[in-house]
């Protein structure tokens, strides 16, 4: 995982990415017990480009040239399937902008905040997300006011209550 972090940080330094943040199961693992996952999900903010379509071709080509081949929807970096996901809605974009820098080994990595991670799980709403919400609420350190503010602004309060988070304190 260390190599993937170095590659991502390098892409930001080189201006190929505006920013990034780790999401998904690996981000959850920063805050709660380890959860079984196989992908390193990375949300991206790309530099401004012409046109409205998001094009990752140059990014994939650059990574391929550096020895990180594409495999299905992933790029293999140091043996890890890394899924590069351009921020696809305002919640994800905010989650990347407000991500925290955490240490992994001796590198710093941008990770989605716990409250944004919860909101993304609520928004995504797959069975595994709903299960993870319950465990996350119990195990992770999170800020109730910050979470409720995010849920309200992104219209997710009802879904959160429906996912069993109504009694969260």
């Amino acid at each position: 995982m260390r190599q993937a972090i170095e590659v991502l940080n390098g892409m930001v330094e080189e201006g190929k990415l505006r920013s990034y943040a780790i999401g998904g199961g690996v981000a959850a693992t920063f805050y709660m017990e380890p959860v079984l996952t196989y992908d390193l999900d990375v949300f991206l903010l790309l530099p401004p480009a012409e046109g409205i379509l998001v094009d990752l071709t140059a990014l994939y080509r650059d990574l391929g040239d550096r020895g990180f081949p594409a495999e299905h929807e992933h790029v293999l970096i140091g043996g890890l399937p890394v899924q590069l996901i351009p921020a696809y809605n305002p919640l994800i974009e905010e989650a990347v902008l407000q991500a925290v820098e955490l240490a992994f080994e001796d590198a710093m990595v941008r990770v989605v905040r716990p409250e944004h991670l919860l909101a993304i799980m609520v928004q995504t709403g797959r069975p595994k997300d709903r299960h993870r919400v319950a465990l996350f609420l119990e195990q992770a350190d999170w800020d109730r006011d910050r979470l409720m503010d995010i849920l309200r602004r992104h219209g997710l309060e009802d879904r959160f209550r429906g996912s069993g988070g109504g009694g969260a304190s």
């Binding site: 709660m32 017990e33 380890p34 996952t37 196989y38 140091g78 080994e105 119990e138």
Partner: protein, 62 residues
């Protein structure tokens, strides 16, 4: 006393405490455990003839 689905309550409490202890481990240790989970899942899938998802390299091997 029994709790959820007939499980003894102290067993449920112990499981919850174990999960909280795991949550407080350093993230590097949690990633090592994650890779062990992937290896375990691969072994089970293989024994059942199911498609196997490739585990990550062990962190100390990279």
């Amino acid at each position: 006393m029994t709790g959820f689905e007939g499980f003894p309550e102290d067993r449920i409490r112990q499981d919850r405490e174990r999960r909280r202890r795991l949550a407080r481990l350093p993230v590097e240790e949690k990633i090592r455990i994650l890779v062990e989970l992937q290896e375990l899942a691969a072994s089970i899938a293989r024994s059942r003839g199911r498609p196997v998802r490739r585990p990550w390299p062990r962190p100390d091997a990279s």
